[in-house]
């Protein structure tokens, strides 16, 4: 079996860090458990200052952009892998038998 390579060690560290982050919300501050104060008035969206509104457009573009990038990167990796294995096969088929 191969020894752990540097990328695998990095991945193990990342997974450990993700596990620690996942465990952290278990300690919830008492203040966060208190119910929020009742809302005494409704504020129309149009009256909220533009700085406090969260625009949807960048999030939408980011989501669709990510889908395209993820699919294209995977197709490119698959293409490279297919090219490499075809080259290997050509080399093996044309190499002289000893």
């Amino acid at each position: 079996m191969r020894k752990l390579t540097i990328p695998l060690r990095r991945l193990a560290c990342l997974l450990l860090a993700a596990g620690c982050l996942a465990a952290s919300p278990a300690v919830t501050p008492v203040a966060a458990l208190q119910p929020q104060a009742a809302q005494d008035e409704y504020v129309p969206l149009s009256e909220i200052p533009p700085g406090e509104q969260l625009p949807a457009q960048p999030l939408l573009f980011a989501a669709y952009g990510f889908v395209w990038v993820a699919v294209l990167v995977y197709v490119w990796l698959l293409w490279r892998r297919l090219g490499a294995v075809q080259r290997d096969l050509e080399t093996l088929r044309h190499a002289p038998r000893e």
Partner: protein, 223 residues
């Protein structure tokens, strides 16, 4: 069969992805979420392809475990990779929607956490295949089988546990104008899934052929 259907699926997938933005753009805005709800048209089909990948990997993995058929192993490996790809899309597009809809990027509720766990299980499959050495295929097939067994829990989690995530009733209750782009996007994602599965399985077959040829040459050289 997948490879015979490849020309058809690739044409349909390309046509689907070229047309989908126009249909999504023309779909009506949802009353409470507005524009950001349109992430749904790619997010839900990706999630369903993640489930399809997990089931394919699990069933092919079980076949490989019980019969030892190398073709089943290659199909399981290909489907595991696609589960990770579509799962990554789900886990990135979901938080982008949640930031606007819920005000937070992530919440440790049943649906989100179980989806992350399935994704991590299939990522583990790929790591085992890459670094596990001899016998890694069987181990990865076992992990894929358990990963697939989790999928029904992920799907039904929103109905059985109290969660922020919309329930499974959202899709059947889609109104006119939203229904058509959704089913169109689902068909486009299905074609993409089948195309990638056919190509990835073919790559696996060629790699196995190259390994056999190299082994044969080594044996001839030794004699």
């Amino acid at each position: 069969m997948l490879q015979r259907l490849f020309p058809l699926t690739i044409v349909l997938a390309l046509a689907g992805f070229a047309t989908a933005p126009f249909l999504i753009g023309a779909a009506p805005y949802e009353s409470t979420m507005g524009l950001v709800q349109k992430i749904f048209y790619f997010h839900v089909p990706s999630a369903l392809m993640m489930f399809a990948g997990a089931f394919t990997a699990g069933i092919a993995g079980a076949r490989y475990l019980f019969t030892g058929a190398p073709r089943a192993d290659r199909l399981s490996a290909a489907a595991s990779e696609l589960t990770v790809l579509f799962g990554l899309i789900v886990l990135v597009t979901g938080p982008l929607w949640a930031r606007k809809a819920w005000g937070v990027w992530w919440d440790w509720d049943a649906r989100l956490t179980s989806s992350l766990l399935v994704w991590l299980m299939f990522t583990a499959c790929l790591i085992v295949r890459r670094y596990g050495g001899p016998g890694a295929g069987k181990l990865a097939a076992g992990v894929a089988l358990f990963g697939a067994a989790n999928v029904p829990f992920v799907y039904l989690s929103v109905n059985y546990w109290r969660t922020l995530h919309p329930k499974t009733t959202v899709v059947p209750s889609l109104g006119p104008g939203m229904r058509e782009p959704f089913w169109f996007c689902l068909a486009a994602f299905l074609m993409l899934f089948l195309t990638l599965l056919a190509v990835r399985t073919r790559v696996g077959e060629l790699e196995a052929l190259a390994d056999d040829l190299a082994l044969e040459r080594d044996v001839v050289r030794e004699h």
